[in-house]
Symmetry: C2
Subunit: 615 residues, 2 copies
């Protein structure tokens, strides 16, 4: 066996979670090894629904347009229930728009997991620092906890890897040999519901397998059911089918087959038996499979891991490896990718030495932020089908709430070194929660107009996943000389070597990117008259014209109305620290230079003097 390979991060599992995590390390010198037991990408089936908040992540990875172009939109949800007059069969009760107004964009699209993986994979292939080994499994892991006090230049994780022989139908088998020894600074288990790493880390899944056995199938339907191209909840006495249209004339059906103990193992189910159950529920409409591209059967487990990280934050679990639930709310792939998106930038900041102290504190926020999300998801999952079982008068309101939840809009991470509550506030009360712009919540996506050329950007698409924080300076109406003066003075501070200069300079590799969003009339602002920190000069490339935006009417795309939506006063402005994952880190007065400094001091990115002030 050759000498051990040393890598910064070892990722076990190259599914959606592992690939999303790896995408964080593009354009860096962080070495990543991604291993997967399978010989190639997922060929078909499995997860499919993409929520807009996940699409935003693809946008930040630079593959949003490619994924959107291939995706199938969902716009309407039809609710079907039993015939009210007591006769047999089902009737359409209502059609609901698959829309959350505040999002301002498509809420949900469909793209099969294999294509999602394809795009994420293509996106990392050009980067030499990221390596993928397929047909490879870990056979043992040891983690030296003592190393945790010194964070640089130690590789406390040792993993033995083996090559496996696998075909699609058999379980992977090793020849019993260990083929390679890998030393890593961090290990991340993205290895799915049967996670090997979870077992090695002694992380228990808390919760239960439910009684329900479901069949799932992707078919081209031959049917006279009229809503075959809408998402449908078909509620009959024998259960509720979820029907979701896909591309290529296919639909996916989730079909309850057995409730109770008569069926001990989902593996005993046949395709015909699932079809029979489906036909009974959809009757009197016909349903025959024109062709079948994939089908499976499963028993729902609703469980959350006791820990998301172990060994002083040297080992992490992501996605299905640490929480399982029904696929019906379309949350599996989305939550896995979002878990990975939460973890990746923290590892990147630490490995790039941007965090001078408190690395472990930062890495602990992965568990403190994502475990509650998984717990909420399980609780939601338990209640979700009840919503359809007996629709109440509040059904519409409840369903809209559910759509917001499954989109991820309800997530608010607790106070931590990366979520700073406003001065004097120790707990966010209900009044603050009403507004969109809240520390710990995702920055609402919005459209702004480039000052330089009048083209538009959506802010999440603009904030590429580079690992940088963004300081969004909502400078107000800078046609007002007083506000313009504030902006220029802030510019001086931001560029000052004894101010925020160490974080904002260095072009595209600076750990903080400053972005201005003003609300003056665009033709009253001359870009080149602003402080240079807002459009840095490069001797080879001239000015960077792409950091100053107006909240203005676009030539072709309407008005984003950002100040109005976010309730920012035009004569006052504000400053928002946005984390590398697009979540709000802090909301400050536009002139609160110290507040900005304190955020980055708290995170260990700026030195703190003995008096608690910056040196």
């Amino acid at each position: 066996m050759a000498a051990p390979t040393s890598v910064d991060i070892l990722i076990v599992g190259a599914g959606p979670a592992g690939l999303a995590l790896a995408n964080w390390f593009r354009n860096s010198d962080i070495s990543v090894l991604l291993i997967d037991k399978k010989p190639g990408p997922t060929p078909r089936g499995q997860a499919e629904g993409l929520k807009s908040t996940t699409t935003e992540i693809f946008g930040a990875f630079g593959i949003g347009a490619a994924i959107t172009a291939e995706s199938w939109r969902l716009e309407e949800i039809a609710i079907w229930g039993p015939n009210a007059d007591g006769g047999c069969g089902i009737v359409r009760e209502q059609v609901i728009q698959d829309k959350v107004e505040e999002l301002g964009k498509i809420r949900e699209t469909m793209l099969q997991q294999s294509r999602v993986e394809h795009h994420m994979l293509q996106n990392i292939l050009p980067h030499n620092n990221i390596t993928i080994k397929r047909s490879t499994v870990p056979v043992s892991v040891t983690i030296n906890e003592d190393a945790s006090t010194s964070y640089q230049d130690v590789w406390p994780v040792e993993v033995k890897l083996a090559r496996v022989n696998e075909d699609e139908t058999a379980a992977p088998t090793t020849n019993g040999n260990v083929d390679e020894l890998v030393r890593a600074k961090y290990i991340v288990g993205c290895d799915g519901a049967h996670s090997w790493l979870r077992k090695q880390l002694n992380v228990a899944l808390e919760g239960d397998l439910t009684d329900s056995v479901f069949g799932v199938m992707d078919i081209v339907p031959k049917s006279n059911f009229p809503d075959m191209r809408r998402v449908c909840y078909l509620r009959a006495a024998t259960g509720t089918i979820l029907l979701v249209p896909r591309s290529n004339k296919e639909v996916r059906l989730y079909i309850p087959v057995e409730s109770g103990s008569t069926l001990s193992d989902p593996k005993d189910l046949t395709f015909e038996r699932i079809m029979d159950a489906a036909r009974k529920i959809i009757a009197p409409y016909t349903l025959e499979p024109g062709s079948v591209s994939w089908w499976s059967a499963y028993r729902v487990g609703q469980r959350v891991g006791s820990h998301f990280s172990r060994h002083n934050e040297r080992a992490f679990l992501v996605g299905d490896a640490v929480h399982t639930h029904s696929p019906k709310a379309g949350q599996g792939m989305n939550t896995s990718i979002q878990d990975a998106y939460n973890l990746g930038w923290k590892l990147r900041l630490v490995l790039q030495n941007h965090i001078r102290a408190g690395q472990q504190t930062l890495l602990r926020t992965y568990e403190s932020e994502r475990r509650p999300v998984a717990q909420d998801l399980i609780a939601f999952d338990r209640g979700y089908l009840k919503l359809f079982a007996a629709p109440s008068a509040q059904f519409d309101t409840q369903f809209l709430q559910a759509m917001k939840f499954t989109t991820g809009l309800s997530i608010r991470y607790p106070q931590s070194c990366v979520v700073q509550l406003p001065k004097g506030v120790t707990e966010l009360g209900p009044s603050l929660l009403k507004a969109d712009l809240v520390p710990g919540k995702r920055l609402p996506d919005f459209q702004v107009v480039y000052q330089a050329d009048g083209t538009t950007a959506r802010i999440h698409d603009r904030m590429q996943a580079t690992g940088a924080f963004r300081l969004l300076v909502f400078a107000g109406d800078i046609a007002n000389p007083a506000l313009l003066d504030c902006l220029q003075r802030l510019g001086v501070y931001l560029a000052d070597p004894s101010g925020l200069g160490p974080l904002t300079t260095g072009g595209s590799s600076a750990p903080v990117e400053v972005i201005v969003i003003h609300c003056a009339e665009r033709d009253k602002v001359e870009l080149l008259s602003l402080h240079e920190v807002y459009m840095p000069w490069s001797d080879t490339e001239g000015y960077d014209y792409w950091r100053v935006f107006a909240d203005a009417e676009s030539v072709h795309e309407g008005h984003g109305k950002v100040y109005e939506r976010l309730e920012i006063q035009r004569d006052k402005g504000c400053a928002v620290v946005v984390r590398p994952d697009g979540y709000v880190g802090a909301v400050l007065d536009f002139t609160d230079f110290e507040g900005v400094r304190k955020y980055f001091q708290g995170l260990g990115m700026l030195p703190v003097g003995e008096d608690g002030e910056a040196k």
Copy 2:
């Protein structure tokens, strides 16, 4: 030398025109050979601007989203003129939105020719019926005109091909040998301004080289000029620079260098001399090249070929091969692609034997439709710069007209076998020209909502370049039983073997696709209650749900207001024959079954009885 290869179409030149033409023959059994003297695709420089009507063509080829995602939008045009107070230097006179309201979408984007070619090339590579031979030139051509009376199974074109040795700087050289003999049914010259085929066909270019010599360059500018990210016309005493922003921080500059006879050959120009001319015009602002990715110099020729087709429509000339003009209006690549788009479907229809008689008549419309467009373009080109030389009070109106012209919205093809004027009308008068829905004009693009699922489509994107005509049935408010009844009766006729059945049946390979656009409230229409011709059944794939649309509010994208925009009465409707290239062939009463039949009879796609009626 091997036995001659027989192909249906030989295309000389694999630039934008040749590739666009080849894209028409995807998914067919028409054999196409594309030859190009160069060893590989165009690496850089050359044409760049894409008008929305060209982007529509990419949409119809299925590559619209990929091209749009890569393109750089242009939203604003700044006009700069000499200092009004007589001092030196230039001042910003006005900023104009680069927008044509009626289009309802982005008018203009930038993508370099090499990437445009890349996407069109990738799109034909999977199709075995289309072959590309590079480093190959034609050395002789003979065309047997007598063959023209029999259109099937004759290959009247014989071309000798030779392999060439070429590097980028030298002219191609053959070894004097003929390496291959190709017989073709048709030959098309897409071989650029120095077209070999044009010379063989004895087609004269009518018009002149102008005196003006221009330099053109793609640079990353280091400059304090404030409008570097807008399209700018910079008018100074020494000439007018056109500045166009590109991706990667680059701008393209068109710079007039010499007027008159002091410079005999553009080849004598140096980069520094062009830069000097640019610096004089842009002063007092600074301009230095941070990096230079491409530059060239040229003398403008404004010429149109005497013929666009020869030898009884066995040979055609497309794009720069048959018209040249200044690149400043961004028309070169656009017009080339649009020429090819006009020709391709006609060849496809003939070669697929859909035209039982009158093939030559159809093919003649290529010249009768496209030559006037080239002539108009030359006339426009001559007048375009005058617009900026001395802006008048009508400047804004004139500029908007120019934008419509360069977008291609002014094009109206004359009456022919594929452009049928309304009953009793022999010439379209001005009143008809006011409306958008006019035979011979491009069908205006608009948004409609799928009846089946509430998602949206833009109609040009929906009408893929399959070679099929579309019959758009604007059925009106079919919640009204009388109109629904009309639609159902039309359905019977359209499906009837003695009616339009021969053209509408056969699934996706039918030469006429029927599309319904109603304006009833969507929830008052049950898709499956409509006649089956509107949602054909397939034994393997069930219903085709994607042919019935509502002019309705979309869940996420607003209301297309199609009936209102096109001035179609909601209680009356109409039927529109749309040609395979998206141009309007005929506008008829919705109940004028005979009018629809006559259009296709006139084209030879339906038999005509001795009494002039269909058999």
